[in-house]
Symmetry: C3
Subunit: 448 residues, 3 copies
């Protein structure tokens, strides 16, 4: 084994060919599921999960309407088949077939003719972004409406319009998908993203596709941890899962909520409620060594499903990973969050960041020095590189000194990476190498 | 009760009419006591206390000359009736009746005629502020002197002057005032200001008048804590009180020394010796949310009477509240610290800051969530405001999420206010509201 | 005793006359040992120690070639008598007699004639500093070479050159010097500098000479601690000493590695691996009050012999003191690090910093207030200076207030100095003074 070889868990090194194309792979899948009209319930979620199941094993759960999940009740199921506005000219000026954003999510059915003036009360636009169609919801189910570009709205001619929304709100169920990969221990790593937004590429499709690519690769690996993946509608999906798995939720030792992972911003990590959980330290460390300056945020009880996992009764170590922070970019929650907004290269680098965090989680351990008195003579073991004098050689030399200095039984590899400022991957790699030369003994693996 | 109503202790909400005029009320009282010549002993202190007693119940204590108070001895009592300098022209160029600052405080009596040259050795001026009369003391009692504006001093014509100081330094006593309001517990909040400076409006009168207005209002309230107020001469007043109340001083759980509360600077808070006492956290929190950027200072053993309360044998949680920090403004300790320097609006805002801190002290408690698993459904309880979308609604929504997330038995309301960055008053208010909806149970009140 | 007198340990006050000249004294000794060709073994080290022994008691230790010292083995001993390059013109263009830097340290012997082209492969220069001769080593002993200025190298004429290096690499020993001054306790302060570089003034001679001057003065003092001084070759010297003194190394309670103490940069202090050891706090405190902004560095396992003392099996509280940090100044490791680069005034101020740190170590203790309730009346004891109003009087007054406020049994003098921001020397001095007035009782001396 050369010093560059990695014997520990490393998803990125596992299959170079597949990983080179991972950005394209994620992008393709995101594009495939993009047109589907998802909501917090309904067939759009099932259709999406069916596509993901072509790539990964996935169990689909149905939670019937009326089920109590903690303080909440599963609502009726919404489905939609058609929706359009026909202008006096006969033209369909808005058609749900062109974009699932055009209909107010959870609209009640309507079929009517009305003057423009009356229709206007049912139309939602974004005057400050006049060419974009907004994404709007009315989960109460007692309204109907359409969303369109403000410029199109302004150009509507007077006259009588025909509107049709063919939707239903009936007893049914809430649907979520779950994947599980058994590892060496029952301790779990949880990864989850929401599946409840219609045609929004970054704020939904990107996370679904990235996790699918991750599961495909992880399924081929031996891991210390078991891995659980959830694809559920925001809030109610997580609440349903927690309600059904209350007794075993504490197996989750590290968790990541993912969203908006396809744009070029950030990276952004919002810490768990615990604040210094291992996942918080691992993500902070990995992002600090990413090429872009990361945006590390303290926990607040507002955001995505980390709100539920971090509620005080669970208080799980679950953080939120995004590129641009949701709500802060103009493309958010409108038709500008489309397939042009996300890029294969950003999806690939988001994948790499998550995979690096999993490497930290899987490889974290303590070694104990067999040579604690003074420095060992690294040179005679070929462990003090002088060839070339490149930066990477100097880094590895320095990493060896740090590892030998701090492997005293009280410092883990992440502790050493944090104190030295050297990436975990290099620290873990030189530690393995030093252990092979009997300078270190493997200490306990660290499950927390 | 609407969500805006406050059922907890809130001095500011207690009597809107009176509070609207509190700045004028404090200013008037400060103006009334301004002319009196106070010193560390003497009738000026008694006269001042007599005026305060027209508004509040106050016990007046006399500590006889020669009494040992810890390492100190009460000095002889100084009184003054008259003091002037008569110029060769016959004019009284300096007259104690015009300003009590004109005489060196604790001057011995004199009645003499002397040439200007000799007189000059007894005259104190401020060359760098040539129109202001300085405030000077000579507590030893073995000197006499006058203070005047430097410009007036320069204009003195040659010739023989008549000087007269009719003062006495005799066996007597040191005087201090004490007010006590019994609350539900024996734990005490101590508020104190010095009463030993002659005609200085900010550095004395403002604090005396503000505390008087506070006592008037607090006396009408039911409180958890008992409240103790001291009006004593600087250093020796606090030392005397501590000497007489050594056994019970530890009842003081929170304390504030007040001074210079009438100018528009600061606000300034100097922490207790403990540094992270509850009073330190409460004051820092309240001032952080004040409109002006506060000046939060670490404890140093130099300043006002916090020096004595924070001596190591007592180490009481007592901080110092001021607007501009003493010694840092040019009006300090001279005739520019007059009734033009202090303003009703500054006195009112200082009052509001102190009252807000008392609200934090009185309302601090722990609640425990009755709904710790996932978020509660606030909407169906009418607790998730969407109307208007104003900032205050968004703040209250966010406050509810924080309270539900952190009421796990280990976070108090101030803990939540600090972590969320939301004012304590909003946090306490939404907590009461959530408790009324049975989402929280009241935990223990927190006396420390 | 006046308040300016110091009764505690103070090397700087001990002999004013000698200390005024300490910069010149250190410079002279550095200049005397400058020409000697030192290496990690050999007679250069012995010669240097012989000169130091003219000033101080020093035990010289020899560790035979082949001795195992932890993971290392003592190498063969290298000595050199002569080395030159004779040009075709007959001129000795390079001569070891002119500077010990001219020969590659640990060169094997050679005596040959060769064309310029072949010779060039054995010549080391610094193209980026073309007038300086680099310092180079080849400890393997299987190479020979010369170092010269790049400009001289470029000017070498073609032709046949004669080269001669008369060196030997044989069984022998590694040499180090050790001085010990017994104090009141067995607890030790360790001071050490390396003795393995040839003619480099700052990076070797300055430290050797400064420690010698320090030992001369310390030998005349009564001290609480015992003092140990090491003069050994870098790495192997410290490793040898630790190997031979493994059982008693834990007596070292505070340690300083010294190097590069003669230039005008820094001051630089690199903390021990412990990070907040007393030596780290003491050095940080002293340098913070030095005239130049100090460079305080966290521990890294790369540098001088602190690497060995701070290896995890020992983890001794040993920091590194330098003026400019090694490797960061252009004069480093070349002929520009000569007797013009170091200055008596810089050596004197480095001496003063080290002596001040020793004063903190020797004088650290806890006092307990005999007057914990309120402030004592300092004025009647003549302890509240008002004369002059100079800064130093104000500082001493403030220092007295701090000491009386914090001498509660839990704060040491350094704690008080750190919290107050007042130099330790003033804090310790007023504490002695207050103890003489029975306001403080001496608590325990603090050995850690």
């Amino acid at each position: 084994m050369t010093s560059q070889t990695v014997s520990g868990f490393d998803l990125l090194a596992a299959d170079d060919v597949a990983n080179a194309a991972v950005g394209d792979e994620i992008y393709s899948l995101a594009a495939e599921i993009f047109p589907i009209c998802r909501s917090i319930t309904g067939n759009g979620v099932r259709q999406t999960l069916d596509i993901l199941r072509q790539h990964i094993d996935l169990e689909v759960h149905e939670v019937p309407t009326g089920t109590k999940v903690f303080d909440w009740t599963i609502p009726r199921e919404w489905n939609i088949r058609e929706a359009y506005i026909r202008a006096p000219s006969g033209e369909r000026v808005v058609d749900f077939q062109r974009s699932s954003l055009h209909v107010l999510n959870y609209s009640k059915p309507v079929r009517a003719r009305m003057p423009l003036q009356e229709l206007k009360e049912h139309i939602y636009t974004l005057p400050e972004q006049p060419d974009a169609v907004p994404y709007r919801t009315a989960y109460g189910g007692d309204r109907w409406g359409f969303c369109m570009a403000h410029n199109q709205f302004l150009a509507l001619e007077d006259g009588t319009y025909e509107v049709a929304i063919e939707s239903s709100l009936e007893e049914g169920s809430l649907t979520y998908g779950e994947a599980f990969l058994r590892g060496a221990t029952e301790d779990e790593v949880l990864l989850t993203t929401h599946i409840c937004h219609p045609s929004l590429a970054n704020d939904n499709c990107s996370g679904l596709a990235l996790l699918t690519a991750l599961i495909k690769r992880l399924a081929k690996q031996k891991t210390r941890y078991s891995y659980r993946f959830l694809f559920g509608p925001g809030s109610l999906g997580a609440i349903s899962w927690l309600s059904r798995n209350r007794a075993t939720a504490s197996r989750v030792k590290h968790g990541i909520v993912l969203s908006c992972v396809g744009d070029g911003g950030g990276p952004t990590y919002k810490k768990s409620r615990i604040g210094d959980a291992f996942i918080d330290r691992a993500f902070t460390h990995v992002l600090k060594h990413a090429s872009r300056k990361p945006n590390i945020l303290d926990f607040i009880p507002y955001g995505y499903d980390e709100r539920q996992f971090c509620s005080p009764g669970f208080n799980l170590p679950v953080g939120l990973f995004q590129r641009s922070q949701f709500g802060t970019f103009p493309e958010y929650h409108c038709s500008d969050d489309n397939l042009d907004f996300i890029k294969p290269e950003h999806l690939a680098s988001s994948f790499e960041m998550v995979a690096s965090v999993l490497s930290v989680i899987e490889n974290e351990k303590r070694y104990v020095s067999n040579n604690p008195f003074c420095e060992p003579q690294l040179g005679r073991r070929g462990l003090y590189g002088s060839v070339g004098g490149e930066k990477s050689v100097a880094d590895r030399n320095m990493a060896r000194l740090w590892v030998m200095n701090l492997c005293d039984g009280s410092h883990s590899l992440l502790d050493i990476a944090e104190r030295s400022g050297i990436p975990f991957s290099i620290i873990a790699d030189v530690a393995r190498e030093l252990a092979e030369h009997d300078l270190l003994s493997e200490g306990s693996e660290m499950s927390r």
